[in-house]
C-alpha cells in the first residue's frame, strides 16, 4: 500500500464540536472494550464514521501504588511494584531495585546483572508477543493473536521455571535476584527461542505480507517527528519516527554494554512501520537472549547480602533510574528521607504519554473502526498510567 505523500496530521487546536447540533455522536469506547488493551475509556465524538474529538478517561484501574509504597517497608514494596505494569512487570522490579541499590550504595554481583538482563529481555519478548497478538486482533486477525499468545505463554513457562510465577515474577529483588537458574533452564530457553523464532517468521510472512493488513495499517496514526520531543514519545514509537534512541544503548545499564546490538530505526512513523519495527526488535531480542545465555556466568553469588529487611533504612537521597521497556522509557524516581520506607516514589511509564496525550490528538480524523488498531499500535498498558 502506498503511503500518502503528506500524511494527515490533526491540528493541535482541539475543535469544540457542538454536540447539540445533532451532527455528532458521543461514543464511549471502553472501559471494558476489547480494543482498549485494558481498563481505560475513550470518549469519542464522531461524525459519520470518523472521530472528531477524543478524551481519554482513566482511573478504572487506579490502585494508588505510589502512595501505597510510602506506607510499606523498602523490601515490602518489592512484590508491589511489579503490579504497576501487568504484562511487563520486570521493568518495575528492576527500576525499583536499581534505585534502591543506588541510594544504599549496593553493588550487585555480576551473575545477578546477567540474570536481570536475561529476565528483562525475556519479558520484552513476552510483552511484544502479547502486543503483536493485540495488534493483529485489533484488525480482526485472530489467528495471529492465538499464535502469539501461545508463544508468550511459552516464555511465561520459562519465567515460571525460573522464578515460580508466570505473570508476577518477583525475581529481581533489591540486592540481586532471588535464585540461580534451575538445572536445564538455559537449554529450555534456547529451545523456546527456536520455537518462538520460527513462529515469528510465520507471523512475519502472514501478517506483514498481507494485503488487508496493509490496507488497514499503512498510513494509520502517523506521528510527525517533531512530536517526539514535544510529547515525550519514547521507545519504538520514537524509533519508528526515525529517532535512534534506546536507553539500553544510551544509558548502558546492566549487561547491555557487553552485548552486541544496534537499535532498530524506522522512518515512516505509521502503525505499519511501528509494527514492523517491533517485529524486528523481537528478532533482535531473541538474538540478545542467545547472547546472554552464552555470557551467563555459571558460578558466583546471585545476591548481595542486605540488612534485615524489617529494619532496612536507606540513606536520605533521591534518584531516577530508567530502563528501556517495550514501550519506551520506564523510570522510577525514588526519594528516601533516611527512613525504612520510601518518602516518595514516582513512576514514569511511557503509556501515560502515548495513551493519553499523543492518543488524544492522533485519533482525530480516524475512522472509528481504526481506533482500536491505532491505540494498540502505540503499545500502551493502562495499568501503568494509573500508578
Amino acid at each position: 500500500m502506498s503511503r500518502p505523500k503528506t500524511p494527515y496530521v490533526a491540528p493541535e487546536e482541539r475543535a469544540v464540536p457542538d454536540l447539540d447540533s445533532g451532527k455528532y455522536l458521543v461514543m464511549w469506547q471502553g472501559p471494558n472494550h476489547p480494543g482498549i488493551t485494558g481498563n481505560m475509556s475513550l470518549r469519542l465524538v464522531i461524525e459519520g464514521d470518523s472521530v472528531v474529538d477524543c478524551e481519554t478517561h482513566v482511573g478504572y484501574l487506579h490502585r494508588g501504588f505510589e502512595k501505597l509504597m510510602e506506607r510499606r517497608l523498602w523490601m515490602q514494596n518489592f512484590p508491589l511494584v511489579c503490579r504497576i505494569a501487568v504484562p511487563e512487570p520486570d521493568f518495575n522490579e528492576y527500576c525499583y531495585a536499581a534505585a534502591l541499590e543506588e541510594l544504599a550504595g549496593i553493588e550487585v554481583p555480576d551473575k545477578a546483572v546477567w540474570l536481570r538482563t536475561l529476565s528483562l529481555e525475556m519479558i520484552r519478548l513476552a510483552s511484544f508477543l502479547m502486543w503483536i497478538g493485540g495488534q493483529a486482533g485489533a484488525f480482526g486477525h485472530g489467528t495471529i493473536a492465538q499464535w502469539s499468545v501461545t508463544m508468550r505463554d511459552y516464555v511465561l513457562d520459562l519465567f515460571e521455571e525460573l522464578s515460580g510465577g508466570r505473570i508476577y515474577h518477583m525475581y529481581i529483588i533489591p540486592g540481586g535476584v532471588r535464585a540461580d537458574v534451575p538445572p536445564g533452564f538455559l537449554r529450555h530457553v534456547l529451545e523456546t527461542m527456536t520455537v518462538v523464532e520460527q513462529n515469528l517468521k510465520d507471523i512475519e510472512l502472514v501478517m506483514f505480507h498481507n494485503a488487508v493488513m496493509k490496507m488497514r495499517a499503512v498510513g494509520l496514526g502517523y506521528i510527525p517527528p517533531d512530536w517526539v520531543d514535544r510529547y515525550g514519545i519514547t521507545g519504538p514509537n520514537a524509533r519508528a519516527a526515525g529517532f535512534k534512541r534506546d536507553l539500553r544503548k544510551d544509558r548502558g545499564y546492566l549487561a547491555y554494554p557487553r552485548l552486541s546490538f544496534e537499535p532498530v530505526v524506522g522512518a515512516e512513523s505509521d502503525a505499519f512501520e511501528r509494527a514492523r519495527l517491533r517485529l524486528a526488535e523481537m528478532f533482535q531480542g531473541i538474538d540478545l537472549i542467545r547472547q546472554i545465555v552464552d555470557f551467563l556466568p555459571s558460578e558466583g553469588p546471585f545476591r548481595e547480602r542486605l540488612p534485615n529487611p524489617l529494619h532496612w533504612k536507606i540513606p536520605a537521597g533521591e534518584t531516577y533510574v530508567a530502563a528501556e521497556c517495550t514501550r519506551g522509557e520506564y523510570g522510577f524516581y525514588v526519594v528516601s528521607d533516611g527512613g525504612d520506607k520510601p518518602r516518595r516514589v514516582a513512576v514514569r511509564g511511557p503509556s501515560y504519554t502515548h495513551a493519553v496525550s499523543v492518543m488524544e490528538r492522533l485519533v482525530r480524523g480516524v475512522n472509528i473502526a481504526d481506533v482500536a488498531g491505532l491505540m494498540v499500535s502505540l503499545h500502551t498498558y493502562p495499568p501503568e498510567i494509573e500508578r
Binding site: L25, M27, H33, P34, G35, D49, A136, G137, A138, F139, G140, H141, G142, T143, Q146, W147, T150, V206, N210, A211, V212, M213, M215, R216, N367, I368, A369, D370, V371, A372, G373
Partner: protein, 304 residues
C-alpha cells in the same frame, strides 16, 4: 390433494430438521478446523448444540417492545423461507422442499428479509449505538448484493429460467455442465459475495468486537439468542444449498450435497483465517470494485 400437501409439509419438516442439524454440525466442524489453524485443540463439534440449549434455557428479563421480539422471528423466518424454496437434493422427494412453488427471486428476497427484520429489531434494542452496528451490516450487505445479483442474473440468462430446479437440471451430466465450468466469472463474483454474506474475515464487520460491538449479538440474549443461533445453522445451510444448486451442479443424493456444501463453506474459513478484516468503507469499495466488474463481465458473457 389435501393429503398430498400434508405429506409435502411433513417431508419439508423432515428436510428442515436435517438441514438444521447439518448446519449446526457444519458450524461446529468449521470452528474445529479454525482452531486447528490457530494452534488450538478447539471446541467439541457439538458445541453449537450446547450453546443453543444453554441460551434457550436462560431467563429473559429484558424487552424493548414488539419489534425487538419479532426481530429474531423475522430472521428465523428468513432462514426457513430461504431454505424452503430451494430443492436440497435434486430429484429427491424428501428434500424437494417447496422448490416448485417459488423461484430464484423469491429466495433472494428471503435472504434479505431476515436481515431487514433483524435490523428493525435490533434498532429497537434500546441501545443508542445499535443503529451504527446495523447500518454497518446493512451497508456491507447492500454492497455484496451487487456482485451476487449480477451473478444470479448471469445464471438466469444462461439457463433462461429463474426456477432453481430447472437450473440444477440443466447442469446435470458431468462437471463440464456445471456453471462453474460454463460461466466461471459468474461463480467468481458469487463466491466473493458469499464471503461477505457469511461474515467471515475479511468481511466480519458486524461482529467485530474490537470495533463497534453493537448489534444483534450484544442486544439479544437467552431464547432469542438461541433462535438466532438456530437460524444461523438453517440460513447457512440454505445459502450453501442455493450456491450448490446455482453453480456447482446441485446434488442428486445427500452425500453429494454434504460434500459439496462443506467444500463451499470451507472457502470462507480458508480465506477468513488468512486475513484481517476490512473497514466497512473498504469493504463496500471492494465489493463495488473488482467483484462487480466480474459480475458485469459474467452477465455480458452469458448474454452473448
Amino acid at each position: 390433494m389435501e393429503t398430498g400437501i400434508l405429506v409435502r409439509v411433513g417431508y419439508a419438516l423432515v428436510s428442515l430438521f436435517v438441514i438444521t442439524n447439518y448446519g449446526l454440525l457444519l458450524i461446529g466442524s468449521m470452528a474445529r478446523i479454525s482452531a486447528k489453524v490457530q494452534g488450538r485443540v478447539g471446541q467439541p463439534v457439538w458445541q453449537p448444540y450446547i450453546d443453543i440449549v444453554k441460551s434457550t434455557a436462560k431467563r429473559n428479563s429484558i424487552g424493548h417492545g414488539v419489534m425487538f421480539y419479532l426481530g429474531p422471528v423475522f430472521r428465523l423466518a428468513g432462514g426457513v423461507g430461504t431454505y424452503m424454496f430451494i430443492p436440497a437434493v435434486y430429484g429427491s422427494v424428501l428434500f424437494r422442499n417447496f422448490s416448485d412453488s417459488g423461484d430464484l427471486l423469491l429466495v433472494m428476497y428471503f435472504i434479505f428479509f431476515g436481515q431487514l427484520g433483524m435490523a428493525l429489531g435490533a434498532s429497537e434494542g434500546g441501545h443508542p449505538y445499535s443503529a451504527i452496528g446495523v447500518s454497518r451490516g446493512l451497508a456491507q450487505m447492500t454492497a455484496f448484493e451487487v456482485p451476487f445479483a449480477l451473478s444470479v442474473i448471469a445464471v438466469a440468462i444462461q439457463y433462461r429460467t429463474l426456477d432453481i430446479t430447472a437450473i440444477v437440471a440443466a447442469q446435470q451430466g458431468g462437471f463440464w455442465n456445471w456453471t462453474v465450468a460454463t460461466n466461471p466469472l459468474a461463480v467468481a463474483a458469487a463466491l466473493i459475495a458469499f464471503l461477505g454474506m457469511s461474515m467471515h474475515n475479511p468481511f466480519s464487520i458486524v461482529i467485530a468486537p474490537q470495533e463497534i460491538p453493537i448489534g444483534p449479538p450484544t442486544e439479544y440474549q437467552s431464547n432469542l439468542l438461541g433462535m438466532l443461533q438456530t437460524n444461523r445453522a438453517i440460513f447457512n445451510g440454505a445459502k450453501l444449498v442455493l450456491y450448490m444448486n446455482l453453480y456447482f451442479g446441485g446434488a442428486t443424493d445427500v452425500v453429494t450435497m454434504v460434500v459439496k456444501t462443506f467444500l463451499i463453506y470451507f472457502i470462507n474459513v480458508f480465506v477468513g483465517q488468512a486475513f484481517p478484516r476490512f473497514r466497512v468503507d473498504q469493504s463496500i469499495r471492494f465489493f463495488l470494485g473488482v467483484p462487480t466488474l466480474i459480475g458485469i463481465a459474467s452477465v455480458i458473457i452469458a448474454a452473448i
